[in-house]
Every structure is written in structure tokens, then in C-alpha cells.
């Protein structure tokens, strides 16, 4: 009996051992397979990480590129020949003579293709960034801006050199398509023209090492802008400015600045433009905000006259924009000439109350495309030798494709 029990126990245990062995073998097999598949993957990965780009290919170093298209359809109560003709076009009394206004944007009643712009940016090396913006219109290609900025200067300094827009005031640096209204503020148009202060030169900017943002800068430029400057004999335009910003609350921020542009006219007389600007922005949500932006500019320009040796002219604009959502926003702007002490004022008609009212509604299907409907009632214009209230309605389409431009403050 005992023998039998032992025997059966023995067979059972040996059977059990066999089963265990089988299980281990199976596991080993599985592991082998797993190893093999891992090995295959490794080989694949190694193959992938070998260089398979074309020899001498430099695609990875291409500059960031964006292109911008701007076009409009315009309705206006003035015929094209009376508005933008080179001899009979509009005048702004004391500032722009008839036919002298440059009008690259929305000049025609009817359809306007304003421009295509190509913007390039590239980091040159550890020391420089380079930017170029080519403005292409039916008149041809223009270098709107092309400059380098430094990346690694000590003492909080930065230098910009090339052709660029001066950092004077609040909007001088901004391109037409990034303004909150398609109409240019009258005082900027009157003192600097549509391109504003944009010239060859060098800029030096310094940021103060303080908790509050304070930035001071100087732009030394050629001074070819002949609306306010224009002495072509030598470089003669110097622009200085200080800007500061405060966060009043987490959501309410303020940016303000004072600027001075000192240059010489084509008569080699001093011409100084002073500017003060203030922007308040209340953030109501990620896609919603209230923005109130205003600027006041005054020009003191010496003349050859003996009766009025310095003419003083000034004006302001104030704009208020409510961004309702990432798709819709609306706004109003008021423009006014506040001072017009010049001998070039005509006496045949009243030149008081030069002002303009503008309103707009904007629809952005996506951050990179924008449709804007804008209406303005303009009382600054002289047409055909008499004051004329110009009423304009325009629908503009602006596209910014390609590299993502950052959202501006």
C-alpha cells in the first residue's frame, strides 16, 4: 500500500515538474520572440535616424515667410478725379496742397488692390536677427523695411540698423494692415504721409532694469520724409522717445509714451514734432477686450517768413475698440486738427473745425483673415477749391498667410 502511494506521488510530482518545464520553455520562447521583434524595431529605428536628406540641402535654414494681401471695395461721395488726381485731388488746409497727397491705400471709388506684402525673418547667427518686408503694389516693389537687430548686446541695449519705421509715437512703427482702422489718423497723414517716419538709419534702445517697464530709445535717420523734414544734403533726423507701461490690475494695463522728432526742412530750417500717446487695455476674457488708444502730435516748424517765424500745427486722434469675441469687434475713432497756425492757410474759405468721425465692424473667421466694414464722415478735406464733407464706406479684406505673426498689444 505504502509503496503504491509513493509511486503515484512520484509520478504525479514528475508530471507536475514536466508541466512546469513546459511553462518555462513557453515563456522562454515568448521572450525570444519579444527580443526578436525589439531587435527588428531597433534596426528600423537606426535606419530611420540615418541622414536621408539630399546632400547640401539647406531647407531647415529657410527664413520664416509670411505674405499679406490687402484689398477693398470703396463707396465715396467724391469722384475719383476730384479725390486722388495728381493736380486736382483733395487738400487738407494748412497741411496738404491739392493733389500732393500720396494715396497708396483705398484711393479709388470702386475696387482697390492695395498691396501684397512679403515679410521675411531669419536669425542670422547668435548675434543678429534679420527682417525684410517687401511692399508690392501696382506701382512696383518697394522695400518697406529691411533691417538687422542685435541679439546679444550687454547693458540691456539693442541696436537696429537698415531701413525701418521709427518707434516714434504709438502707430508709426505699425504697418497699415495691423492698424485697428483702415483710415490713417489725419494728423499722421498730414505730418508724415502714409508711410510715416520710415527711413534709413540706426536705432539704439535701452530697457531699464526696473520692475516697471521703461524703455528709452534714439533713432538717427536720413530724414527724407518731405512732409515735415526733407533736407537732402545730409542725415538730419533724430527721434527720441521714452515709453512706459503699468498693470493697473491683472486685466487693466496701460502703455504711454512721449516722443520728439527733430529734423530740418528742405529750406534747412528746424522742424520739431512732439508726440504724446496713451493706450488703455482692459481684458474681459481670452478673446474679448476694450482698447482705448489716443495720440496728440504737434509740429513746430521754422519758416522764411518774417511775420510768422515758427508755424505751429497740431492734431489728435482717439480710438475705442471693443473686441467682442475672437470673431467680432467694433470700434469708433475721432480725429481733429487742434492747432493750425500757418501762413499757408487759404483765406477763400473757412478752415475751422477740421475733424473726422470713423466707425468700423470687423469679422475675423480665423486669426489670419479679416473682413472690415468701415464708414467715415470726413470734414478735413478741400475738394475743387471748397470745403467738402467726404463720406466714405469701405469693405476691406486682409489676409496674412504663412508664418504666424504674433498678436500685438
Amino acid at each position: 500500500m505504502k509503496k503504491r502511494i509513493i509511486l503515484s506521488l512520484l509520478t504525479v510530482s514528475s508530471l507536475y515538474a514536466d508541466a512546469q518545464m513546459d511553462a518555462i520553455k513557453e515563456q522562454l520562447e515568448e521572450q525570444k520572440e519579444a527580443m526578436a521583434s525589439l531587435n527588428a524595431k531597433l534596426v528600423q529605428l537606426e535606419q530611420k535616424s540615418t541622414n536621408n536628406s539630399a546632400s547640401f540641402s539647406q531647407n531647415a535654414y529657410l527664413p520664416d515667410m509670411a505674405f499679406i494681401l490687402n484689398m477693398s471695395v470703396v463707396g465715396r461721395n467724391v469722384e475719383n478725379s476730384n479725390y486722388n488726381d495728381e493736380t486736382t485731388g483733395f487738400a487738407i488746409p494748412g497741411f496738404i496742397n491739392s493733389g500732393e497727397a500720396e494715396q497708396p491705400f483705398n484711393a479709388n471709388r470702386g475696387f482697390n488692390f492695395n498691396y501684397a506684402e512679403v515679410a521675411l525673418h531669419s536669425t542670422v547667427d547668435p548675434y543678429f536677427d534679420a527682417f525684410a518686408i517687401f511692399h508690392i503694389s501696382e506701382e512696383g516693389i518697394e522695400v518697406e523695411e529691411a533691417y538687422v537687430t542685435t541679439r546679444s548686446l550687454p547693458y540691456s541695449l539693442k541696436v537696429k540698423a537698415g531701413k525701418f519705421r521709427s518707434a516714434f509715437g504709438r502707430i508709426n512703427e505699425k504697418h497699415h494692415h495691423s492698424w485697428m482702422f483702415d483710415e490713417q489718423p489725419i494728423i499722421y497723414k498730414s505730418l508724415f504721409g502714409p508711410d510715416m517716419i520710415s527711413d534709413a538709419g540706426v536705432q539704439l534702445q535701452w530697457v531699464a532694469p526696473t520692475d516697471t517697464y521703461i524703455m528709452a530709445g534714439v533713432d538717427a535717420m536720413q530724414g527724407r520724409n518731405n512732409r515735415s523734414f526733407g533736407n537732402m544734403e545730409k542725415n538730419n533726423l533724430y527721434v527720441g522717445y521714452v515709453k512706459t507701461s503699468l498693470d493697473v490690475t491683472d486685466d487693466l494695463s496701460l502703455l504711454s509714451g512721449v516722443s520728439l522728432a527733430h529734423g530740418e526742412t528742405d529750406l534747412q530750417k528746424n522742424s520739431d514734432v512732439y508726440g504724446v500717446d496713451l493706450t488703455l487695455r482692459e481684458q474681459l476674457g481670452s478673446y474679448s477686450s476694450l482698447i482705448w488708444q489716443s495720440e496728440y502730435l504737434q509740429r513746430n516748424r521754422d519758416t522764411n517768413s518774417v511775420t510768422l517765424t515758427t508755424e505751429k500745427q497740431a492734431g489728435l486722434y482717439s480710438q475705442f475698440v471693443y473686441q467682442y469675441s475672437n470673431n467680432y469687434s467694433t470700434g469708433v475713432m475721432y480725429d481733429r486738427i487742434t492747432k493750425n497756425e500757418t501762413e499757408s492757410l487759404p483765406t477763400t474759405y473757412n478752415t475751422d473745425n477740421l475733424d473726422r468721425y470713423t466707425a468700423m465692424v470687423e469679422y475675423k473667421p480665423f486669426p489670419m483673415s479679416r473682413l472690415r466694414l468701415e464708414a467715415s464722415y470726413d470734414r478735413t478735406k478741400v475738394i475743387d477749391g471748397a470745403r467738402k464733407d467726404v463720406k466714405t464706406v469701405m469693405l476691406t479684406l486682409n489676409i496674412a498667410a504663412g508664418a504666424h505673426g504674433a498678436h500685438s498689444y
Binding site: 548686446l153 540691456s156 530697457v207 517697464y213 521703461i214 503699468l246 481670452s286 504666424h404 504674433a406
Partner: protein, 292 residues
């Protein structure tokens, strides 16, 4: 007297030794504090109240960037719309892309949802993959290690302290993760829809399946046609959860909920959102609201 002088010198150098670190978002800021301890002074640039893609580039941020020794960013294209001009305007050579004081955390993250083809016709897609990786609590230690390596390079004298900080934080976080993962195992209902693909890293980690988004394409506002098709998807698949973030409008989600019986839950996309004051609170809030 000499002793006093030494002491004051020591204290002042101690004050100056602290590194100023700016991070673009709050979660990165909190992890930096854990690793840097009192050797770093952390400033967060972008408020978690707002859409991380659309932080307002306030000029006051220039003053903050101007004084930073190190800028830690999320990367993956999340800051593309607001940070580059701020970096250029801050006149700080230390934090330029490629400089020693610049850290892009996304370079350390195994990115998911990397598109095989990219066009703006598909909306605001990120070519580098989904950048919202901080929603996964398992990323925290990868981020912490990347930050420590950078701090060692900038401040090698305090290597031992950073190591100690990282070690103790690693232990603390591993314990937290263990209990967190156990809690997540109890969640039964794994079907969701979300507004924007903000939570994919979290959903992938805990085997959730996202059936669609309230926005028809990334960065594009909801349309009625898309909303109706989403309602049908929810009904067909018996989805009970709609993940809403703090910064998008909530009307659409509520409407969908009213038509389907699904529940809208508020999920923070970053620490600080939906009242989550600490890292643990951030992930706990996600878990509490998502776990059914």
C-alpha cells in the same frame, strides 16, 4: 566687526545668488519652484485664466523678461502667437533662443498627435504635435529633471542642493502618482468629448477615449452643423462627459448637454485654473471631475 562684515557680504551674495526664472505657464512655474527651492525666484508670465495660445503680450511682461536669467517655455508652438516679440523687445541676451538661459521643455517630451500633414486649412494645428502635455501628471518628473539639468548648467555651485530638491520631490511625486493611478483605476466611464484637444495626454494615460471636439477645427468657433453631428456622436456612443475648459465659452457645451443628457465638467488646463492652487490640487481637480 570683521565677522559682521563677512556675514553681511555672505547674506548679500546669497541674495544675488538667487536665479530669476520666468516660466510661460503656471504648472512649469510650480515645478521650477520644487526643483529650485529658495535658490530661484519664479515669475509666471501667462495667467491660467486665459487661453494659453492667446496670452496678451502686455508690455509689463517685457520688464519681467528683461531681468530673467532663465526662460522656461512649454514649446510645441503654444507660445508662438505671443512670446517671440516679447523676447526680442526685452533686450536680454541671456534668454534668446539658443542662449544658455533658454529652455524649451517640449524637447524632452514624447509628443503625441504629431500631424502627418500640416495646413492651416485644418485650422490652428501644431506641426510639432499636441503641446498640452502638462495635463498628464506622469510628465511632471520628466519636466523636473529637464529643469534641474538646466539649473545645474546655470548655477553649478549649488548642484548638491538642486540634486537634493529633485530627489525629495521625485520621492514625493512617485508616492502621489501611485495613489493617483490607483484612484484613476476606479473610474469606469471612459468616453468623453472635449472643447479643444487640451486633455489628450491625460486621456491617453488613463485609457480614455475622446470621440470629438466642440470646435470643428482647432481654433475655430463652433458651428451649428458641427454641433449637431457631435450631438449624434454622443447619443450613438452613449457618452456621458463633456470636458469644458475655463476659457472657452460654455453655451455650446451646455446646449449639447441639454440635448443629450451628458454632463459638462470643468477641467483645468493648467495649474491655477478652476481654483487649483497647487500641483496636487491641479491633478486632483482633473481626476475628481473626470472620474465617474
Amino acid at each position: 566687526m570683521k565677522k559682521l562684515l563677512f556675514l553681511t557680504l555672505f547674506i548679500t551674495t546669497g541674495l544675488f545668488a538667487s536665479l530669476r526664472v520666468d516660466t510661460t505657464y503656471s504648472t512649469l512655474g510650480a515645478i521650477t519652484k520644487k526643483v529650485g527651492g529658495n535658490l530661484v525666484k519664479v515669475t509666471v508670465l501667462g495667467s491660467s485664466k486665459y487661453d494659453p495660445h492667446f496670452i496678451v503680450p502686455k508690455p509689463s511682461l517685457l520688464a519681467k523678461l528683461h531681468r530673467a536669467d532663465l526662460l522656461i517655455m512649454n514649446g510645441g508652438g503654444l507660445e508662438l502667437g505671443w512670446l517671440p516679440p516679447l523676447i526680442r523687445g526685452a533686450n536680454n541676451s541671456k534668454i534668446q533662443n539658443g542662449a544658455k538661459g533658454f529652455l524649451d521643455i517640449s524637447h524632452y517630451i514624447p509628443m503625441i498627435d504629431v500631424p502627418t500633414s500640416v495646413s492651416r486649412g485644418f485650422g490652428d494645428v501644431h506641426a510639432q504635435g499636441n503641446p498640452h502635455y502638462t495635463t498628464d501628471p506622469h510628465m511632471v518628473l520628466i519636466i523636473a529633471r529637464a529643469i534641474m539639468e538646466k539649473l545645474l548648467k546655470l548655477d553649478p555651485e549649488n548642484e548638491a542642493q538642486y540634486q537634493r530638491n529633485l530627489n525629495s520631490f521625485t520621492k514625493e511625486w512617485q508616492t502621489y502618482l501611485k495613489s493617483f493611478d490607483n484612484k484613476m483605476k476606479m473610474c469606469k466611464d471612459k468616453k468623453v468629448v472635449q472643447y479643444h484637444e487640451l486633455f489628450n495626454y491625460f486621456l491617453k494615460r488613463y485609457n480614455y477615449k475622446s470621440y470629438g471636439n466642440i470646435e470643428p477645427l482647432p481654433g475655430i468657433a463652433p458651428s451649428s452643423k458641427h454641433t449637431i453631428s457631435l450631438i449624434n456622436t454622443i447619443k450613438k456612443n452613449q457618452i456621458k462627459l463633456i470636458l469644458q475648459d475655463v476659457y472657452h465659452e460654455r453655451k455650446t457645451a451646455k446646449f449639447i448637454a441639454s440635448k443629450t443628457g451628458a454632463k459638462v465638467v470643468l477641467i483645468p488646463h493648467d495649474m491655477g485654473a478652476a481654483g487649483s492652487k497647487t500641483l496636487e490640487a491641479y491633478y486632483n481637480t482633473i481626476a475628481t471631475n473626470i472620474c465617474r
